[in-house]
Symmetry: C2
Subunit: 404 residues, 2 copies
């Protein structure tokens, strides 16, 4: 049974070692390199941003995974620089780092999976990164402390590390899953400036992992939005060492594993949204009675993208008219005359028209750190819960600071 | 020749009388009713919001224009309440007001064109509006002062009235065009919480007016964005009294009129954007070498919708990577590797890659009240200039104030 809410101590899957370093990429002087070494035979699946502008490490990592047919021996992440819109020199810089890690570990360059996050359009300072690599490789450890440091080193404007882990038993075998994430800005479905690494000791083929990961992401990272922007660097990587001896080919293991992976991804999603830039209120947006899941998702995205809706939430303002207007402006074939809207348990709009409600109760509901808004479309039977946030003065401050 | 920048005195077209009243709809106690009486024979054309959620006056006005085949004898506008998401009672309230104005003027109810702007989902207080109608009708005047008061009475969160007027001569006939607008929030292409009334004394059929208005809007109101939201109440109404004696059927008149109408709509657009909620910087976004005008518009909309781009502009931050990422996330078939970006006259990105530039000059350029950003797609020969704005702390404050 998975305990995904990051309770101490973190359970670590067997087969992984972690380390971090301060290379001076971040002006703050904080750790900005994070390294994972995976044991021989580790399989991998990854999902990437759908932005057409992709960072060099996304291009390189995608090709590498294809070349190795889903095998990874190491992950090298830098924070503070996205290595995006850096052209051919950016690709060369990324490969140079993977080459060096591969050389130090005596594995192929393609078995080293790269990630970057941070400012776009600035050349990656390889001269700062290269000298730190030997220490990262020699200093890695399979300890909770090293894992936690890894979770911190991948952050940018996040205010806290995001960790979720758990384990389950099948027969006498114990399978552990542990994940870390970074988020903070550019968070919108189809992934975001979001790096997620999930480690497990289940034994699985890359294809089995991909199926499980796709399903889990659909129910988690693709149902969140902070600011509607989609990052150039989004990556979700799942690594499986096989060290538990339990196989994903076993239906009982698969069921438990998929449930656990989804729980962990949902926990990381919640942590990402709650720690979004300037977020004061998390909104659980329930879209009900849509014609399809796709339609429900599109409605949720339209609402979560409206500045007028998001600023109303910042003021805990039960201004449901803005929600209705956002649905109407979405271009979707929704009949506004059938839409019901609820704030908390109160109906505030029936069939597209104002419904008498206690405004001060609705205000109190929205003033809570997390609140529920339900939109009933009365078109079908699909439903979806989507996590989104208010838009605050603080978000603008964080993102207007010259120069990022 | 049109002098559209609202220079004093305002030229008034013949055939229109204006008045305003304070009905107590606005909590501030400011004027919230605005009335126009048009002479017999006045023709009309209107464009409305594309939001699926439309306010009662939009539904009523659209049907009325069809029934009268494009003839209008009066316009009644209230500010402070959008009469939207108010159901059948909202439609009844709107018709009741038009009925009463029609009775007072001895014209058909359908010849009275209604508009509302303000909060959504609150019943229209007809009990406040009805008693004010006789005074509006009896007190109207064809004076510049009355016209200016009209421009003020339609405002909501705008900080100033938006007026543009001008005239031209053809032979010994003088044609005048005068327009007023309200904007402030929910401004995005396909019209916005935007009410625009343009008056002229040219003689024209409703069909001729519609062609001229559609063309002028395409080059003005549909090329602006403040916050990406599309209002439920947007209306652009053009009324032609015919009193100048010059006919739009005359090609020389048509050419001058269309140029003048476009200038006036562009001037009102600029005024709307500059007075957007919390706006500190207006950005003239030039999209060049798109495959089509439609593509150029879609790129401009994607950029002007990105919170990360708009907050960077608030900080005068030349973070062009966010612009590139917004294009990449748009779903358009743009090859980021061909995109050039300029801030002011400086190239900052060439073929999707950072291009060395003087950062402090770029910062200064963006710190100006109006600045130019050029995005060259290198895909075709269509171009477009789009007006948009930064997203500031003040925008969030204005829109988060509980309760709107």
């Amino acid at each position: 049974m998975i305990q995904p809410e990051g309770s101490l101590p973190v359970l670590l899957p067997k087969g992984f070692r972690f380390s971090t370093a301060k290379a001076g990429i971040k002006a703050s002087g904080r750790a900005d390199l994070a390294f994972v070494q995976a044991c021989a035979g580790t399989t991998a699946a990854a999902l990437f941003t759908k932005n057409k502008v992709v960072a060099a490490p996304v291009s390189v990592g995608r090709v590498s995974l294809t070349r190795t047919r889903g095998h990874v021996r190491a992950v090298i992440v830098n924070s503070g620089n996205a290595n995006c819109a850096t052209g051919v020199p950016g690709l060369r810089a990324c490969k140079k780092i993977c080459d060096e890690v591969g050389r130090l570990l005596d594995v192929r360059r393609e078995e080293v999976f790269p990630s970057s996050t941070g400012v776009i359009g600035v050349p990656l300072p390889t001269e700062k990164i290269m000298p730190a690599l030997p220490g990262l490789v020699s200093g890695s450890a399979a300890t909770e402390d090293a894992f936690r440091q890894f979770a911190h080193a991948i952050l940018t404007t996040d205010t806290q590390a995001k960790i979720s882990a758990g384990s389950f038993h099948v027969g006498n075998k114990k399978v552990t899953i542990a994940g870390v994430a970074k988020g903070a800005g550019m968070i919108h479905p189809q992934l975001a400036t979001m790096l997620v690494y999930v480690f497990t000791d289940v034994a699985a083929s890359p294809a089995e992992l991909k199926r499980s990961l796709t399903q889990a992401c659909r129910e988690s990272f693709n149902c969140i939005s902070i600011d509607g922007d989609t990052s150039t660097n989004d990556t979700v990587l799942l690594l499986a060492s096989g060290e538990s001896g339990a196989s994903l080919a076993d239906p009982m293991v698969r069921q438990e594993f998929n449930d656990g992976l989804t729980s962990i991804c949902q926990s990381l999603s919640r942590q990402i949204v709650a720690d979004g830039e300037g977020v004061q209120h998390v909104i659980r947006l329930h879209i009900e009675q849509a014609r399809s899941r796709k339609e429900a998702l599109a409605v949720a995205q339209a609402i979560s993208r409206s500045l007028l809706v998001k600023t109303a939430w910042a003021g805990a303002d039960p201004n449901w008219g803005r929600i209705l207007a956002a649905i109407g402006a979405s271009g979707l074939p929704i009949d506004p005359d059938r839409v019901d809207i609820f704030i908390g348990k109160q109906k505030v709009c029936r069939s597209g028209v104002n419904y008498p409600f206690n405004e001060s109760h609705a205000h109190s509901e929205l003033a809570k750190p997390e609140s529920d808004i339900k939109v009933r479309l009365r078109r079908g039977s699909s439903s979806l819960t989507f996590l989104t946030t208010d838009l605050t003065v603080e978000y603008v401050r964080v993102n207007a600071d010259y120069s990022t």
